[in-house]
């Protein structure tokens, strides 16, 4: 990474200048902005250069003297070297939140982080998922605390420090720090120091979503509480029981590993069976998906284990028959064939189940092959009982001081009321939350922690893998890093930065700058593989109780556990499967909905409405809408975590319902006494997609590995036109002489086999291109502004062939085709669609003022400032990828999201115009990056290197589904892809000659 190098060089010159104090010696003139009215108005008008927020700023104030507003340019007093106004600087850093780790490359402009990319470090390192992508916006959340709070009124740090130290000194009973798993070694040691200082101090680890089952199961099997690291790339046969490992299980990196072994070009692909209750992203990508009830999961797993024992001619445990025995039999056989090359996992929160899973993997000899017990993943560690004990402790007045670090139990605990009571008994309640949440609202002191992009830190997500976190911007507000607070309260006067460096020097490596530059440091893990010690026999009566209605609680890739619930990008990111935004809802299978007479329907403007139900689990009842989800198992309901925040800020406030209140005994599977009843009321959904099948059209082309190996073009039949030249491709039948194309020809390839539909690219596009957020009402009107959308299609029971066979009439056929299949055989495909940059673009011809034209580099230019907004191009676009600014989305109180406050606007990309009302916009293939790289090349008097230019979506795509490059350069990756027999153009019949092409999806079904 070139810029990175530059940064490294500057390190050579003077190591000191990474020191944050030195780098940002300018104060952010933000406070000034807040005061100065002129400035405010001006800042709202500036679109491109956000320099005003730092040194080189321009402030507009109209003077009577001259006609145009006078613009002021304010240079730095002392310009930090590595900042050149107008050029980006890249920093390696890392992200850890909601037990998700990602190692980052942060793009900053004039000292403002504006885009996060995955640094793709060679090891397990997680990719950047949608939430991580969007976290850059959370940095500029206007809801963050500007100063520390005492009894919810602003105060100064001195007061806080004095009083808290006092409290700590006087405390006789327990002092508790409630925190999620801490993977920062230095912080850990810091805490130990703190312990030694205050003997009554102890730490309670509480992970919002518990992985206690796996940890404890491993304790039983291996005698150690740990989470192994899985290697999906090494597994040829994957069986998952309700583990959504591509999206929300343990580690986003799994998606990348998974796709590594799913490349048909290699002649082999892993085969993936998914037994699950809800339709998850993982299920959608599986080769064979079997919807089963939650309560059946144990049965199936045991059954499988039984069959395997049988194959291993070991003594069988008697298990009862299941309704999918044939499938399980196949699975067993295939597993047996792929011993040591297979992987079986489960998302169950039952320790016994995980034990069985371990047993199976052990039986198949997968340990140390596809599952490593030497390299552990440290991201989860909590023990469920701890928090419960803490509650009781507090109740019994055994706690004097409780501190909350990145935890929000009042929101995330199922019986938060009892926790609240207990909390009220604690004399001193301290929260480190950087903004008011449900818990910190109840605290006496809130000592706002800095955002991770403002703080130093180190992380050790995996054994032997050490990464640093460095600030990319000086703290925006009067907040202080937790570690610094702790140091202060210990009475030490050094700062955490020094502490960290010492720690690093003593324990990790002396070459601090190298780690800082690469972002990580790895050393051979010295702990040797653990021995499988589980002896006692597995009995078949560990079956969970079943009831005719069960509830599964799941995580959405957009909102997760709700930490980022106030992030409008995430709220507007459609759910990969349901395509619903700004909501959570009770998913239900079509059949069951019919039985319970629950409905979803479309209103006159095409938007989706749904019935409301009361769902009761145990004593708690919640009123929520239902969403009919094809492919879901009969008898199972689904509800997503992370919504229903009551104390979070303008965007996330009261969106959806809080599923945590059903998260009884930390199990995502609630199978007991659940009642659902229809109640009056209608809920309005905001979906970005309202028709769900391909209507028998050749949109997403798909084939099976077996056929692919026979004929690489299988499933990708070339559309031919009958012409005087015989049967030819549409592109060969052009009426016209083509325009010449010299310097470049930008093309993009999208591999439908690699796309898991996660949606990280959509958020990245938001960040890179200043795409506005329009809010629920507008999305509901089908006016979402996403330049890049991910289409999701279900298979239908009706196809042309069937219709022909059964003699169904056309009308009938199409009516049926609109219905997604209601059977187990339902299949799901994803297709990212952005502007296809057609070289015979229908949109260009029709623009009366030539606002959209074609470049000789094959790009379809959209010139906002020329557009008069006739929307003709939008109508004439066969891909419907053009987006119209129906209103002014920036500086408009109707759309009170980040673009409506000066803080939020700091995330805008200075190189991209913010579009005004009444103009058309669309994907530009990140032309700002193309232009920049071209310029760099010209400056350095060289040709452009392949891969030097990457669109935001490409960078965000962890599975490498998107490839961008110059097709004029014969050996660029994209030119190679172009020749791939799997490649095809979308709606090629129209001969729009797109610059974007897709690659057939290949499943590895059993034949």
């Amino acid at each position: 990474m070139k810029e990175e190098k530059k940064y490294y060089n500057s390190l050579n010159h003077n190591v000191e200048n990474i020191n944050k104090a030195n780098e940002f010696d300018e104060k952010l003139p933000l406070e000034a902005m807040m005061e100065n009215a002129d400035t405010l108005s001006a800042s709202s008008t500036t679109r491109r250069d956000f320099l005003k927020f730092l040194g080189f700023s321009s402030v507009a104030a109209t003077l009577a003297s001259c006609e145009a507003p006078v613009v002021k340019s304010i240079p730095y007093l002392n310009k930090p070297e590595e900042i050149t106004p107008g050029n980006p600087v890249f920093y390696a850093s890392s992200y850890f939140s909601e037990n998700v780790f990602g190692s980052l490359l942060v793009k900053t402009r004039e000292g403002r982080p504006i885009l996060l990319n995955s640094s793709h470090n060679p090891l397990y390192g997680g990719g950047v998922n949608a939430r991580c992508q969007a976290s850059v916006l959370s940095l500029y959340d206007s809801n963050r605390l500007k100063k520390p709070l005492k009894n919810s009124s602003e105060t100064s740090w001195n007061v806080i420090d004095r009083e808290i130290v006092q409290k700590l000194k006087n405390s006789t009973k327990k002092v508790v720090l409630l925190t999620p798993t801490i993977i920062s070694p230095s912080t850990q040691s810091l805490i130990d120091l703190f312990k030694s200082k205050y003997s009554n101090f102890n730490v309670v680890v509480y992970d919002t979503i518990s992985k206690n089952a796996i940890l404890s199961a491993n304790y039983k099997s291996f005698g150690k509480r740990f989470i192994p690291t899985y290697r999906f790339d090494k597994s040829d046969f994957i069986v998952s029981f309700g583990a959504d490992f591509l999206s929300e299980w343990l580690d986003p990196a799994h998606a990348r590993q998974y796709t590594l072994n799913r490349k048909p070009e290699n002649g082999k692909m892993s085969r993936h069976y998914q037994f699950e209750s809800l339709l998850t992203v993982t299920g959608a990508n599986a080769d064979k998906r079997v919807p089963i009830k939650l309560s059946d999961q144990p049965k199936y797993i045991l059954r499988l284990y039984d069959f395997l024992l049988d194959l291993a001619n070991k003594k069988s445990i008697k298990t009862s028959k299941t309704q999918h025995d044939d499938i399980i039999r196949d699975v067993a056989n295939e597993l047996w064939l792929n011993k040591g090359k297979s992987l079986i996992i489960s998302g169950s929160d039952m320790i016994e189940m995980q034990v069985v899973i371990n047993a199976i993997n052990q039986l198949l000899g997968n340990y140390e092959k596809t599952i490593s017990t030497t390299i552990h993943s440290n991201v989860y560690s909590s023990v469920d009982d701890d928090i419960i004990n803490l509650t009781s402790d507090m109740n019994n007045n055994n706690v004097d001081v409780v501190m909350f670090l990145n935890t929000n139990p009042v929101y995330t605990l199922s019986d938060s009321d009892s926790f609240k009571n207990a909390l009220s008994k604690v004399s001193t309640k301290i929260s480190f939350s950087d903004s008011l949440d449900e818990t910190s609202a109840l605290c006496d002191y809130v000592c706002p922690d800095t955002n991770y992009l403002e703080s130093w830190g180190d992380l050790n997500p995996y054994t032997g893998f050490y990464v640093l976190q460095q600030p990319t911007i000086s703290p925006l507000f009067d907040s202080r890093q937790v570690q610094d607070s702790l140091l202060k309260w210990m009475g030490r006067d050094d700062i955490y930065y020094d502490y960290l460096r010492n720690y690093c020097k003593n324990n990790i490596s002396t070459n601090w700058n190298k780690i800082l530059h690469d972002g990580y440091h790895s050393n051979k893990s010295n702990n040797n593989s653990l021995k499988y010690i589980f002896k006692d026999k597995i009995d078949n009566n560990i079956l969970s109780k079943s009831s005719d209605i069960e509830l599964q609680l799941y995580l959405k890739s957009s909102i997760g556990t709700g930490t980022h619930a106030n992030n409008p990008w995430l709220q507007e990111l459609p759910d990969p499967i349901s395509k619903v935004t700004w909501d959570n809802y009770l998913t239900i299978s079509p059949a069951q909905a019919r039985d319970l007479d629950l409905k979803n329907w479309h209103v006159s403007n095409g938007a989706l409405d749904g019935d409301m139900v009361n769902i009761t689990v145990g004593k708690k009842t919640i009123k929520c809408p239902i969403y009919i989800q094809p492919g879901q198992a009969y008898g199972v309901l689904g509800l997503a975590f992370g919504y229903g925040r009551t104390e979070v800020g303008k965007s996330g406030q009261n969106v959806g319902v809080n599923a945590f209140s059903f998260y009884n005994n930390f199990s995502n599977a609630q199978t007991e006494n659940i009642i659902i009843e229809k109640v009056p009321g209608v809920h309005e959904f905001a979906c970005t997609q309202n028709s769900h099948t391909m209507m028998g059209r050749n949109i997403v082309k798909e084939t099976n590995l077996a056929n692919y190996l026979k004929d690489p073009k299988s499933g990708n039949k070339q559309f031919l036109l009958h012409s005087h030249k015989g049967n030819v491709k549409p592109s060969e039948l052009s009426l016209w002489e083509e325009h010449e194309r010299d310097v470049h020809f930008w093309n993009m390839s999208i591999d439908l086999n690699a796309c898991t539909g996660c949606g990280a690219c959509v958020v990245a596009c938001h960040a890179e291109n200043n795409v506005p957020v329009v809010g629920k009402e507008e999305v509901r009107k089908n006016r979402d502004m996403h330049w890049l959308r991910i289409d999701r299609y279900y298979s239908s029971d009706m196809t042309k062939e069937i219709a022909k066979k059964e003699g169904v009439g056309a009308v009938e056929m199409y009516k049926k085709m609109e219905e997604p299949s209601d059977s187990e055989s339902l299949e799901v495909v994803f297709q990212p669609v952005m502007c296809q940059h057609c070289n015979h673009a229908p949109c260009e011809t029709v623009c009366p003022v030539a606002a959209t034209t074609h470049s000789r580099e094959g790009l379809n230019h959209m010139t906002y400032n020329r557009c008069i907004g006739t929307r003709y191009c939008m109508n004439n676009c066969p891909y419907k990828v053009r987006r119209f600014n129906w209103f002014n989305y920036s500086d408009n109180t109707q759309f009170d999201y980040h673009m409506n406050d000066d803080l939020g606007k700091m995330v805008l990309n200075p190189d991209v115009t913010v579009r005004s009302r009444g103009v058309m916009e669309k994907c530009t293939m990140c032309i700002q990056n193309i232009q920049k790289s071209k310029l760099d090349a010209k400056k350095e008097r060289r040709k452009i290197k392949d891969g030097e230019i990457a669109c935001a979506c490409e960078k965000a795509c962890d599975t490498g589904a998107i490839t961008f490059g110059d097709a004029m350069d014969k050996n660029s990756r994209v030119s190679v892809e172009k020749k791939n027999p799997r490649s095809y153009y979308l709606i090629e019949e129209l001969n729009t000659q797109p610059s974007v092409f897709y690659k057939t999806k290949v499943r590895n079904k059993k034949v």
């Binding site: 016209w736 229908p842 260009e844 034209t853 074609h854």
Partner: protein, 175 residues
Amino acid sequence: MNKEKVIYGLYGDDDVILDAVKTIRSKGHQVNEVYSPFPIHGLDNAMGLKYSRLAICSFIYGCIGASCALLMFWYIMIYDWPMNIGGKPNFTLNENMPAFIPVTFEMTVFFGAHLMVITFLIRCGLYPGSTSKSPDSRTTDDKFLMEIHTSGDEKEVKKIKDLMKITGAEEINEK
């Protein structure tokens, strides 16, 4: 004594005045003008008026319009700032011609129609604010007025007046 005289004969019917004009001219008198509420077919021949060349003008204007249009296209789309618009060929005028036909036609009509009308107004001296030349306001209602200029020779005047009477004039006055 040699003062010029103008004689007006007011008729009540278009056919009558048409015959009147014919007879009077056959008697070798010059009929200077006829005011009528509506066009009388054959009157212009009867009065020996020249054939109007407005149509030809219009044709010429039309041609001008067409050529202007083509010139504009060539300059705008081909010469001054050629752009690749939807891959359409704009290398020469006739490659791109099909797209230009509609506007060319419109421009032709536009020029043809408007310029001709302007010419008509100018030739007839019609413009906002100009006043009617007709000596008798009834000529726009249902009366037809014949106007003959004579040298103020009594006999001559007399002769014409008689002629008018014979041909069925309702009123005859002179000045």
